[in-house]
Symmetry: C2
């Protein structure tokens, strides 16, 4: 019996996905295990395999299979799940075939090497060391935008990779709205008489005990350690080779256990999404996340809406106190809760509180838009970065390690990515508001460490659909209305009124 065209497509996508997962392993290993001198060989391996994946993906249509399926879709002969597979695959195919093989290879090789140089530059606090690599990357990303094409800004072509359908103009509006709220909000907080001493949670926390505690939290949240693992890396990240092998990393400070806990809860949010994607559709858009913004909504919902809530710590705080009597035994839960929610302008995005975090994003969004549009000199970046930090957050950046060199994204060619973090905060607040109405006595359940209903709600309403819905449609379907920043703003106002009076 001849297989159906849609099944042939699925088999081809299956191979591409496994090869793509292998590239993900090469990257994961690079961050977690690879010895320093292996960097050049690794870059070559990634480049060769990236070119193969690119060609294999384009080859799904070498006999016109995808064209044929696309015509079936347009004639409404293909429906349901198959329609999603064909439509989204077609979308990726259209984009991918515009990129020449040599370009894909050059980008992969350059960004892999650039990440290695970035790590060294960051360690040495030496922007000049990284600048030539940043220049190469930016040139390549601008070429990518030209290959892909765009209507208004070349930056549109890059955002679209991460947040399908979103434009520079729309993102600018949303982020400006957020900035308009946050700047006066931050002023009010600064004026508050409530003083919070974060030093009280510092201590000495052996690495292995921290790791064990993080594994405990992740597992309790629902992460299946039989289908994933948690490791150490410079910059925390999550990656997935398949829903049965999902890996996250975190980073550690010996004197601050909350530093690793925060990033673990965040990455676990991402990883639960990946573990819950339907394995039976592996390789197809039905087993892929909607967008980075929706992905980020899962990490933020866990990290902030749940992970920085009082009920969450009603459950975990006694365990933390037992595991680390110093300094927690003498510190009351209520005070601990205020400390982990302190709002304070700082230098490092990944360590920022849930409010000022968005100002870090807005800064990056504004810079990268200009970088890609070509309206600033790359060598001036540290100066411009520091000026904006002063303007938005009121802080004076002491060095590039705490400034422009802090994030891995640009070194890896990820331009158009940052905005999705703040979109994630907005989606998260709106989803969480809906979930709280759907799950009776949710706070009591959280306080008992019972996360099953939360996981199930997220799985049913978001994870299991894969890419069936675009981000905007999913939000409407789940919450009954389009994305509305009001939910995030209301959440911040209600929460911080109690903390700061």
């Amino acid at each position: 019996m001849t297989p159906k065209p849609i099944d042939i497509l699925k088999e081809r996508l299956h191979e591409v996905a496994h090869l793509g997962a292998t590239i993900a392993l090469l990257h994961w290993d690079q961050e977690v295990n690879m010895p320093a001198k292996g960097a050049d060989a690794r870059a070559s391996a990634i480049a060769y395999l990236s070119a193969i994946v690119h060609n294999k993906f384009l080859a799904i249509n070498e006999d016109g299979l995808l064209d044929k399926l696309k015509r079936g879709l347009e004639a409404s002969k293909i429906r349901g799940n198959d329609a999603v597979i064909v439509a989204e695959t077609w979308r990726n195919y259209e984009r991918e075939k515009k990129l020449p093989e040599a370009f894909i290879k050059e980008l992969a090789e350059t960004s892999s090497k650039s990440q290695t140089v970035w790590a060294e530059a960051r360690a040495k606090n030496d922007f000049g060391l990284w600048l030539p690599w940043l220049e190469k990357i930016v040139k390549l990303k601008r070429r990518e935008a030209e290959y892909v094409g765009y209507q208004d800004s070349p930056y549109d072509a890059l955002i679209d990779t991460y947040e399908p359908g979103m434009t520079t103009a729309e993102t600018t509006v949303v982020l400006n709205d957020l900035k308009d709220f946050l700047v006066p909000f931050l002023q009010k907080i600064k004026a508050s008489k409530t003083k919070i001493d974060t030093k009280k949670i510092l201590g000495q926390f052996p690495l292995d005990k921290q790791m064990a505690f993080n594994n405990l939290i992740a597992e309790k949240m629902g992460f299946d350690l039989g289908a994933g693992r948690i490791d150490k890396s410079v910059h925390p990240f999550s990656t997935s080779f398949h829903s049965t092998d999902v890996r996250m990393t975190t980073r550690y400070r010996k004197n601050d256990v909350l530093y690793s806990i925060g990033s673990t809860i965040h990455e676990t949010g991402h990883s639960l999404y990946e573990q819950n994607l339907p394995a039976e559709f592996f390789g197809t858009p039905l087993a892929e996340a909607v967008s980075l913004g929706i992905h980020e909504s899962q990490s933020r919902l866990w990290e902030n809406n749940i992970g920085r809530s009082l009920p969450f710590w009603k459950y975990f705080y006694p365990k933390l106190q037992k595991e680390f009597p110093a300094p927690f035994k003498k510190l009351k839960l209520e005070e601990f809760y205020k400390i982990i929610n302190k709002i304070e302008p700082s230098f490092i995005r990944t360590e920022a509180d849930e409010a000022t975090y968005n100002l870090h994003i807005i800064l990056r969004f504004e810079l990268e838009r200009e970088i890609i549009e070509g309206s600033l000199e790359l060598k001036d970046l540290p100066k411009i970065w520091n000026a904006k930090m002063k303007e938005y957050l009121g802080v004076k950046v002491p060095n590039n390690k705490l400034g422009i060199l802090q994030d891995v994204h640009w070194s890896g060619g990820d331009f158009g990515y940052f905005a999705t973090y703040s979109l994630g905060n907005l989606y998260a607040a709106q989803f969480y508001n809906q979930m709280r109405q759907a799950i009776p006595q949710i706070d009591k359940k959280i306080a008992k460490g019972n996360f099953a209903e939360i996981n199930n709600w997220l799985k049913q309403h978001i994870h299991r659909h894969g890419k069936t819905y675009r981000a905007g449609d999913l939000v409407k379907k789940v919450t009954g209305e389009p994305l509305n920043s009001r939910y995030f703003i209301d959440y911040l106002e209600a929460k911080y009124k109690k903390i700061y009076g």
Copy 2:
């Protein structure tokens, strides 16, 4: 300028090698990191990539490039390094093109899954669980022998993969000679009045301290930790992605630090070979080891000839005593030396002493020859295994975990591999004899922890040549005569006369 044909070949081999290294990473990760549920997805990824590597390798000749170079070689127009590259590549190409793509894929997928089942079967001591997978693997390996072709025994076709040019008949002769020496030798040892109590080196050794000590030994031996790493796995192994990224694993017992030290020294011997292969020829036979037997000579030379010698421990024993006062502080070096050299029949090959080890190999060699020739029933393997253990070593195997299930090789399809371990012992003794004449006061240097000259000798005489010489020719070139088991036998007799009187 058009690149020269030989340079085009090198570029093609370069890509194949990086993709091959990526498969090696998939395997390494499977043993070291992969969560249990990820096994199926991993098997698929390995299978897809294996098929691609197979096709890419065959495609080096799709435009007749290799044919053309082969003709140049035959006309003596290609010489020196280039001649080695063309001749050895041709040899691999001839073998590879006989294997159908579907076969390669099936073998890769089956052996990956079989290894996972084997690990479970071993843990559960359940041969029946693994048997159906062993049957699949054997069927595939016999098919492989038919595809490749052979003169006398299908087993020839498999040995040739690991030890180019070696036949079943020749190996049988060498191993029978060894058996003829070892059986009476073991009788004499058993009759000796010298009693050695190995329990004296047992204690409590925390894992992290063991790991640190092993890293110290490996580094001191010359292993570059900036171009490699040491991890933990069920079965110790070494693998290389490039001479700048060489990885070994070891395994640990909490009560026996020598258990991990022995395997670390062994794997470091392999890894030094890989780190010393010339990076500038990466991808070509000039950056590949001669054969598994020669590879094993490097691990054995370090593990036994050097690593179980008195001078070696004159240097390391005080460090071991300092790191682990219990039980070593009260144990004299001379007694420690006897303990780590005790000859005693045992169940597990990888834990055997350097003499009885070879009887373990002879047993496996005899079995796998029959397995591949089809002259025994696989379901009878445990029975036959146990009978031979009784006959050669005089021990009664209590269960399959300590018997037929102990080695990973067959589960991964590695038939024809085991004999190379004993060949390695013979090569090692002959090389070491030569090296001792070339390096003045070598024992004093070892006793001072000065391994630079040894490393340099191995690099100059063996490592840097890659596959320039066949094993037999290399031995002649380095030692002035063909492989001669007398060196190994003399070494054992001299050493153990002192220990057992």
